[in-house]
Symmetry: C2
């Protein structure tokens, strides 16, 4: 009696029933075993191959389970209509469609951080310290707001360095500011109006799905957001970067701060204070965070370790007033913290051993040195070059007397291999144009800084009026 003989692979590392299964599957998919065709009887095939009938049974059951074969009681096993089960070949590993970023000679993008000085050996030491059997508990999910020991470090650090007043329970950790913002916005109400700085972070991508919430741009000048305009906007919350306005670098003046707190107090509005690069202030001492002056529980404080440590770590945090904490726990308490616990523990150790403070202090000095160099080199071009927003942070604004717009200059410089951002890129209301550029100094290595600046100003000097 003729029957189909499966072609078995000789791969002895693979169990026999699996080899048998693959042989039948292949035969069915390629049509060698046609639809409706009867499979060999289990006993016959077992005899022929000199293997146990149980092995054949396991194979046939699997084929039935997956729909390749139909079992008809007292009749046998028959190949099913397999057209819906056809599987294509695996797609060849094709990386041609991977996003490739263009490379630049000099990268002045404001988002770049100087990471050549990051103490990787200290970080590795801390990671080793925490990846021990004593810490097996860290394999399990922890507190949804992040582990208490890290929140304690953060609360303590914030009080000493920024004057933020809070307990560790008010701290919530997340995987970056972008990941925390949607939760904060939902805490502020199912509907509302968020005043945002213009120019500033757009944030509008957070609202596209939710038509009940909208963003309203409020103009920024040399004192920061024009707070008096808030009363005209019907805003229920304001998102602001008071310590170093992004992107202009303006520092919110004392009177504007008082005005902002007054607005919040009078209207019941909330203030989301994004303190993103506040560790880096070069003139005098840091302006304390607005949160420390808030007696009405209006301020939600937000910051990140992306600038002060490493962007790829993805740890940011927010401090919410107690009454919002209750709401947060009720609505989002079931979400697990998204920051891996071993990373939380490594950071806790890094802070506890004083490495974080030392690193920030060292980086502040290094960035200050680059800033001083910027001023020195820029001095040579003082007839047409104006520098502002240089009191803090990791970028400044440069302005040249020119008829070209910032976007035009950006494009021209990009063609010369120099990457820089135009201020207009961050405008929300695109009515005004300026020639202002954001010059970040995080992305240029120390030893290249002078040459990079000379080249940049050399290029720009061709375009000033």
């Amino acid at each position: 009696m003729e029957f189909f003989l499966p072609h078995l692979s000789t791969d002895s590392s693979m169990p026999l029933y699996e080899r048998l299964y693959r042989a039948f599957r292949e035969a069915i998919l390629t049509g060698q075993l046609a639809e409706g065709e009867k499979l060999p009887s289990k006993r016959q095939l077992a005899d022929y191959l000199s293997i146990s009938q149980t092995t054949i049974e396991t194979t046939y059951h699997q084929l039935v389970d997956e729909g390749y074969v139909l079992a008809l009681p007292r009749k046998g096993y028959f190949v099913q209509n397999s057209t819906e089960l056809i599987r294509s070949e695996p797609i060849a590993q094709n990386t041609q469609q991977e996003i490739t970023a263009p490379s630049y000679r000099y990268d002045f993008h404001p988002g770049k951080i100087d990471l050549s000085h990051f103490p990787l050996d200290q970080w590795r030491k801390c990671a080793r310290d925490v990846l021990t059997d004593r810490n097996r508990e860290l394999l399990h999910l922890g507190h949804p707001q992040g582990d208490l020991t890290l929140r304690q470090q953060i609360a303590s650090y914030l009080y000493q360095s920024r004057g933020v007043r809070c307990t560790p329970e008010q701290v919530i950790i997340g995987s970056g500011t972008e990941q925390l913002l949607p939760f904060l916005l939902r805490l502020l109400g199912d509907e509302g109006v968020l005043a945002i700085e213009d120019p500033g972070y757009s944030l509008t991508h957070h609202f596209s799905q939710n038509s009940a919430y909208r963003a309203v741009p409020v103009a920024v000048d040399e004192e920061g957001m024009q707070v008096s305009l808030l009363w005209e906007t019907a805003a229920t919350a304001a998102y602001i970067t008071p310590a170093h306005q992004f992107p202009t670098g303006a520092i919110l003046s004392a009177s504007r701060r008082n005005q902002l707190l007054k607005w919040a107090s009078e209207t019941g509005g909330y203030i989301i204070e994004d303190d993103y690069d506040s560790e880096f202030r070069y003139v005098g001492m840091p302006i304390p965070a607005l949160q420390g002056f808030d007696t009405q529980d209006r301020v939600i404080y937000l910051s990140t370790f992306s600038k002060s440590l490493m962007p790829s770590l993805r740890i940011a945090y927010t401090v919410v007033p107690l009454h919002l904490l209750e709401m947060y726990r009720a609505r989002f308490g079931h979400y697990a913290a998204t920051v891996p616990r071993f990373d939380q523990a490594t950071l806790t150790q890094f802070m506890a051993l004083g490495y974080f403070e030392k690193h920030v202090n060292r980086m502040r000095k290094l960035y200050k040195r680059k800033l001083d160099l910027l001023h020195k080199v820029g001095e040579q071009h003082r007839e047409w070059l104006h520098i502002s927003g240089d009191q803090a942070g990791m970028h400044v604004i440069i302005d040249c007397k020119t008829s070209y717009t910032g976007e035009q200059l950006r494009t021209i410089l990009a063609e010369k291999g120099i990457r820089i951002s135009a201020l207009d890129h961050y405008r929300i209301d695109r009515k005004a144009y300026s020639s202002k550029l954001l010059l970040g100094f995080g992305g240029i290595p120390d030893e290249q800084m002078e040459a990079a600046l000379q080249e940049l100003f050399q290029q720009l000097s061709q375009y000033h009026a």
Copy 2:
């Protein structure tokens, strides 16, 4: 001439201007320097303290900057109205409001994983391997979908173990399934209807903000979701757990799978296939993922390392059809990946060295042993105890002949120090009640398993009819 003499701290590690600043600030906040009072002239104070006038100037500028003091040209410095600037004392470190979880003698919660066997030493070795100077690039942000090398490992693993066909570019990494889902839902359209399994994961918390999208429950039976009902729902997408239905443990039958693919093909609907614990199948070989049979680019595959590795690592991944990838990159390409790059690299190394595969195989055997023990102990109670959903995964369903509901039994057992979940907890339409319970065996250590089961069944036996 009398003037206010600031009380300087003797902390010599603090710069002089900072000590001076703090002394003035304290005096203003406590009212020692009253509102409107004139500060000492810079020259006078410099003379008196024998310090440079520049130091006094820096201090006074800071006080002006922060709004404590007003500078009136040619008149001097005057204490501002400081009531809005009063800062309270730091809140005492109070951890009393921290969430504390009750403790149980035996925890059968289906979400618990057996982590005592996790090879922490191998993971630590991999972490050490990647935290090197050679990998400094990992401090910067990487590919928004996650690093290519990890996506390559995942694509390869998925093809071999689950029959998923994709290139690494179709893989997107996220911080847990919960973090990825909102992005996937937004890819499927600004509005629509998502069919979800009932009982099943609720997912409705993803829709509360967006009234344009709603979830529709579709009943589950012993073959999984009742797919034929989909045509009645106007669903534009279906979320399904076909390899091991959560929570019933049903495996989607071959005919239901074909039906589901047919539904997607006919209606243009999408299928989100959540393959969450597919590594653990105990009877025969794993049913390949639905994605491998999809020739119409309807299936979005979703899975996680939470069950197979550690929940606290927070790495999950999705595989999207090419045409949705374009849309994903256009809409969300500017979001940085939320998984820390060093963790991505550690996992890549862990997989490349074969540790992941070995670990999963070992865990599969261990869970199978616990399952066998469950059957052995359960056999003693076979008159009233029924076990189902035991072909895969890390939990089974137990049912006793009883008039008590599952929720009632859960409460009774909790009082006895035993934690277990009721199936009804996962019902979306709460019309039906059952006595079914979810028994997870991840949370009970090997050596306690038999005693825990004996205790559990002993307790339950009192309540069967």
